[in-house]
Amino acid sequence: MEREVILETQNATKHFGGLAAVEKVNMKIYKGEILGLIGPNGAGKTTFVNIITGMLPITAGKVYFKGQDITGWPAYKVGRLGIARTFQIVKPFRGMTVRENVAVGAMFGHGGHKRSPREALEHVDEIIEFVGMAHLRDKHADQLTLPYLKRLELAKALAMDPELLFLDEVMAGLNTKEIESAMELVRRINERGITILVIEHVMKAIVGVTQRVFVLNFGQELAQGTPHEVLNNPEVIQAYLGEKFVERFFRQQKAA
């Protein structure tokens, strides 16, 4: 059975001056899946998301969302079309309450055109509860701690009613327990029918939630496959993970 492709990039490329941050990446994301995107620091993962979502202009290549060419679309149009993302460096609206932060997504995102501000503010109750922030609903975003700021990023993206969600290191900086519950959250979001691409350095999370992994290195594709195939791929281990990382990973696995 042929699986439905929700997003496809063809030779997606981004250069910063002489630096090829993303180089000819061909990626397919299938509808309904959780795809992992891994790679060492500076591999181009965030940049890849930036050029798909229109945060940065793409240098070359094509981006298709559900068969539609969205190459070079401005970010707000991409967002309204049904693609949402979180930011690795969290970007809360500090002067707004949690509820208002999330409501902005519900007002302007994929389902935004059908909601007034008041309807959006009411609509987001469920999402705020879903990410476990009901008790912080009326707090200002500048009073939140990092784990909650990460959850807020999630809630804001979810409120946009996306079909495709990019999660850029939502688990970085969280402790083991917080990671567990974040993983659970990612699975539950996926169960809502949202296709997810997770960028993560926490390998346990990648193994735990993804069905397929895509590896970037120096802006280029290095490997693709199931988490186990990829993590046991000698090329990936040597060229990318580095020895210390491998040790840590196997220690993590034994412990688990």
């Binding site: 970010a75 707000y76 809360p92 609206f93 309450t97 997504g105 302007f108 994929h110 804001k156």
Partner: protein, 346 residues
């Protein structure tokens, strides 16, 4: 059951945050009283020409500060050239009256629309700039507009200026311009409130807090910023048109004075940027402050430099304006001022 619960926890809007509770509620009541006082002021026995004149000036400043707040306070773009819109409003109104022979109100509309169109045309390119680059661009454009008005003699009358007909009946002139200014300021407050309850208001605040995030969440940031700029131009343009007819004279070096920009910013900053009433109250605070300064300091006249220094002092010590203290969110003390410096890293 769940319906009851919903009613128990009312939804809070932070752009309007706290307006209707505690000390803020008292402030709102005080404001209503003050507005009522202003509304009947010309009918009071002690309403001399001097007071009418002074209050008209303050209300025009308030209207411009309210307009500046759209772009500078809510959207967070440091616009330092809003006097350009004031000048265009003044010239647009004046020229329509004497060159086209139109009445005051149609001329005022032309002046205001001209200011808005100008804001849209320059806003599209310069609202891409961030921070001080944007500020510098606005200063440059305002200065250039003053130069153009001054030297385009065939159209603007150049250094000789243009003279407008007097308002008639002349004995009602003072009251007429007072109420024009009053209505403009009140209209500005209503407009602010209206926008804050619309998606536009949320776009502005989102852009101020994080423009990239706003964009990614589906906000057409270019459109929202241009609208903020155009509406601030509308307020300044209307103020300029009223001012021109009031003074029956338009001169480039007068209506494009950089001091006017600084005054509206100072009024907004003193009262509290990004608040509904801040700029309005700030215009009064500004006027009192300046009167005291002129009285106690041997400066004779207040130059842009002094206004600039005051802006910096206010921004450093109380970036959220005096409203922060008035509304009881903070107690006024040396410690609070120092804390502000730390919090906002100025």
């Amino acid at each position: 059951m769940s319906d009851k619960e919903k009613k128990k926890a009312p939804i809070r809007y932070s752009p309007l945050d706290g307006l209707f509770k505690g000390r803020q509620g008292v402030l709102l009541g005080l404001f209503a009283l003050f507005a009522l006082f202003l509304a009947i002021f010309p009918l009071l026995p002690f309403a001399s020409g001097f007071w009418l004149n002074t209050l008209t000036l303050i209300l025009l400043l308030a209207a411009m500060a309210i307009g500046w707040n759209f772009i500078g306070g809510y959207t967070g773009y440091a616009a330092f050239g809003n006097v350009a819109f004031f000048g265009i409003g003044a010239y647009g109104t004046g020229l329509s009256m004497i060159r086209l022979g139109l009445g005051f109100f149609p001329s005022l509309m032309i002046g205001a629309v001209a200011a808005m169109v100008f804001a849209i045309l320059i806003g599209l390119p310069i609202l891409r700039l961030k921070g001080h680059y944007f500020a510098i661009a606005t200063v440059a454009i305002a200065t250039a507009m003053g130069e153009i008005a001054d030297s385009w003699t065939s159209f603007t009358g150049g250094a000789a200026g243009i003279t407008l007909p007097f308002f008639s009946p002349i004995e009602w002139s003072g009251q007429f311009f007072y109420y024009m200014a009053f209505l403009l300021a009140m209209g500005g407050l209503l407009l602010t409130w209206f926008i804050l309850n619309r998606k536009m208001g949320y776009s502005w605040v989102a852009i101020r807090e994080d423009e990239d995030a706003a964009n990614m969440m589906g906000i057409n940031t270019t459109w929202a910023k241009v609208m903020a700029f155009a509406l601030s131009a509308l307020m300044a343009g209307l103020a300029g048109g009223i001012y021109a007819y009031w003074k029956t004279f338009v001169l480039a070096e007068e209506v494009f004075k950089i001091e006017y920009t600084l005054q509206m910013i100072l009024a907004a900053v003193l009262g509290g940027t990004g608040t509904i009433f801040g700029p309005f109250i700030g215009a009064f605070i500004y006027y009192i402050l300046i009167t005291l300064l002129v009285f106690f300091l041997p400066v004779g006249q207040l130059h842009a430099t002094i206004l600039g220094v005051i802006i910096i002092l206010v921004m450093v010590f109380t970036p959220k304006g005096l409203m922060d203290f008035l509304s009881g969110k903070k107690k006024l003390s040396v410690n609070a001022l120092l804390e502000n410096i730390r919090t906002y890293r100025v």
